[in-house]
Symmetry: none
Subunit: 142 residues, 4 copies
């Protein structure tokens, strides 16, 4: 089953778009396999603390894009062959990076400064991950 463990609701955009984004990221990252089941509307809505209808909207749009397959009464499942998977991945990579580059340029950073900053943040992020994992392990070890 697909994991929504490290999914946290942000406050800036519509919730259903955040859900779509998370699923697309999962597909692009290989975390979500083809033909894999997704949580039902009710389960996911309870998990995220939002309305079932919001999940419904996200799933419906994914179905429109041909990424999800829903049959009434049965569980819905991911529907992403390797080709579509690659396409989604490229789309996400390009968009995010383009936006970041545009932002950095509008702040008048040189390419070197921007890459330097990115490296620094990347390391911080690594530490945070390790920190969390360590914390988490300690807790589990109890």
């Amino acid at each position: 089953m697909i994991s929504f463990d490290n999914f946290i609701l942000e406050s800036d955009g519509p919730i259903y778009l955040q859900i779509i984004r998370h699923i697309k990221q999962g597909i692009a990252a290989g975390t979500m396999a083809d033909q894999e089941e997704v949580p039902s509307r009710r389960v996911l809505s309870a998990l995220l603390g939002v309305n079932p209808n919001t999940i419904q909207k996200a799933y419906h749009l994914l179905e429109m894009e041909g990424i999800l397959l829903s049959r009434s009464g049965s569980k819905s499942c991911i529907c992403a062959d390797p080709g579509k998977r690659r396409q989604i991945r490229q789309e996400l990579l390009q968009n995010d990076t383009r936006n970041w580059v545009a932002a950095m340029k509008s702040l008048k950073l040189t390419r070197e400064e921007a890459l330097e900053l990115a490296q620094q943040i990347w390391k911080e992020n690594d530490c945070m991950d390790n920190g969390w994992r360590t914390e988490h392990d300690k807790e589990k070890g109890k």
Copy 2:
């Protein structure tokens, strides 16, 4: 006077937030000097083709943050001492880069792959700028 030339309305977020973002970017980039006047509500609304109320909302929020100073009867102006300017810049840089790093990591890219991709997009973006500028110059040259 502050420039809104290369400001283009995106479709994804609220317009007043896009305007706030643009002004903050201008301050952080040094394009907008301290005590510099901003366009009046009416002028800017005409320039961007949006409703005066939307501009009003953006300016009001900037005022709340202490970034804009409105004196009744007079023009509003930027109110950003070097300290605040640096703070805004850091805030924008950190946020954007953190988001990008998080996105790249969630797509399972290594640091090297991500930086490589960023460089590539950066170059593409350079070309586009040059292309556009050239086109633009030609047109102005007419």
Copy 3:
């Protein structure tokens, strides 16, 4: 046994109401006799291609109205004495005709125009029936 041959699922209303309507029409038209057995839940669900629960719901409501009698272990059967039969018939006739008259009046038709239109449609419908029956007979004749 009661016939569901010329019963076709419409898309506009709840299915269980369509089933109730069909049975009431059968009773009112004299097609379904008193004490006649109705198809079991399983058989009818298979026949109509709908869920047994939906049939169950329709039968249950008919039971509430005293039109159907279910004895556990035995088959359910119609329970409509001549009085009830007349009542159902009147109810259906009145409702449908009242609705039609109201619709025609709201479209500003005179009584003559409405009756004329009704005659015309009636004839068309006759032709269709004959056409279908002929087709059907041919097919059965094979």
Copy 4:
């Protein structure tokens, strides 16, 4: 302005379909002129005691059918040239009458019986209208 005075919410179908039906009837009957304004979402929702969103849905579907024209910030208005008006009228007349004829036939009425019944109900309905009008006139006369 279009009138919703004699519009009463029925309980059987979706509300938004009832609203669509009422507006189409108005157009077909000539009660609602071309380019005439319809009540705003808020006004009509308050009038009918339903949610603005329900009205929104009805209006949106009418817009999809090309019957309504909505401009943001401005009032919406009917958009029905004589051709479309006739088409809507035919559609309503045919559908309603076909349904009624089918219902009468399924109840085993002959054409003569059905038309006789229709005439009778029509007269009752006339009386009711007159009765109501009389009541109403009395009240206004006070």
